[in-house]
């Protein structure tokens, strides 16, 4: 559960020198970046638990192990913190994809499936982070949600779809253009992430990634074939 580990990192940072990266030297800018990150993580935890209206900056500061004054040095308002907390994993998703992109060039066509699994696993983990706040951003005021979606989500969709423009084969691109594929794929992962959020049912990430990779490549028939019989 990524949420729980996020909480551990956040609370362990309450000691002044306690950093997540095991005693590596940290410059002032590193500390700033790291603290921003911890505050964003704490914000995700608190917003997820309490929703928009009942989440207090005081609780978020406490969750991150800093004072409210320190929080306001980094983020001028609850709005600003909320936006950073949701944009961080959205941009993280684009970074994940960018990182995986070169690996597609080095493998033969047969060996692409494991990389697609990695793409799906990365999408799952990011959507678990994003989904609760995205729900708040879109549905706590649907008119504001439309503005948020158009201004903040769509650019990330476009950046992420660039990944499929370079990695998808022409035949696949023709069937489903990259800008549509990203909507479909993120929808699939949004559905799983929100179900996990609403029911606390555990997700077997490897099995989920495998199933989604196979659905995309071969449709339901192959995805539904028994995994135990699948040899690599």
């Amino acid at each position: 559960m990524p949420d729980r580990s996020a909480k551990q990192v956040a609370t362990s940072s309450s000691s002044p020198n306690g950093s997540a990266n095991n005693g590596e030297p940290t410059s002032a800018t590193d500390v700033t970046a790291q603290r921003r990150h911890l505050l964003c993580e704490a914000a995700r935890t608190v917003f997820t638990e309490k929703g928009w209206a009942r989440a207090r900056t005081r609780d978020i500061a406490q969750e991150a192990g800093v004072t409210e004054t320190v929080l306001y040095r980094y983020f001028p308002s609850k709005d600003a913190l909320f936006e950073a907390a949701i944009l961080e994993p959205l941009e993280g998703l684009v970074a994940d994809l960018t990182e995986l992109e070169p690996s597609y060039e080095t493998v033969t066509l047969r060996d692409r499936a494991p990389i697609s699994d990695k793409v799906n696993a990365a999408m799952h983990l990011r959507l678990v982070e994003i989904a609760p706040l995205l729900c708040i951003a879109l549905f706590s005021d649907s008119e504001k949600g439309k503005i948020f979606y158009q201004d903040r989500v769509v650019p990330s969709l476009q950046a992420a779809s660039a990944f499929f423009s370079t990695t998808l084969r022409p035949k696949a691109r023709e069937a489903v253009p990259p800008e549509d594929l990203i909507i479909i794929l993120l929808g699939m992962h949004f559905a799983v992430a929100t179900q996990q959020m609403l029911s606390d049912e555990p997700v077997d990430i490897a099995l989920l990634a495998r199933t989604f990779t196979e659905i995309m490549a071969f449709g339901l028939t192959r995805a539904a074939a028994p995994k135990t019989a699948t040899k690599k």
Binding site: Y149, Q150, R169, G187, F190, L207, L220, A223
Partner: protein
Amino acid sequence: MVNDTGRTSVRRRMPAAERKAQIVSAARDMFVRYGYSGTRTRHIAEAAGVTEAVLYQHFPSKEALFEEAIVTVLTKTRSDILMHTRAVAEAALRGDAEETAEAEGELYAIIDSFLPELGAALYSDPGYGKTFYTEYFLPRMQRMAQSHSDSFVPGEDDNASEISRYVISAIYGMNLGYALHAYFGKDTVSSENAVHEISTILSGGIGG
């Protein structure tokens, strides 16, 4: 109005049923816009043109009003979504592209037109969404994943019901992704295009 024959009273009082319908309609608009926790009964009353006291004559609580305005609608929608998801899955498993597209068209139409209500009930408030999901959706979805794991995952597999759960989520999610994009985005989404792409993927994939 049937009762109006012969009546000459100037200040005709609105029949209770009509007033109630007006409150429900205002409530629906407010819940869809501001979600469950963001909506106040005072604002619903204002939008319906009645006092809060009148609202409470018809509905004892915000929750009761939400039940009437949103949940009642979704009870039928839930069954429809599950039924059509199953139809899509079965057709896609047979590799029947034409029938997949037909069932998928119906599934998309439902998810697309009830997205605002689904959003208000499931996604607008973590606390309420959890209750609604675990009481309304989860039991039926689990039953469906269980009862169809044989057909979704032929042969012996310890993970059969888990995989069929992901298959159901995938079908729902593809449609949800497009419906969200259509509702919140600026681009006009062609539902025909969405349906065509989704059924292409489900009935044969787009290649490894």
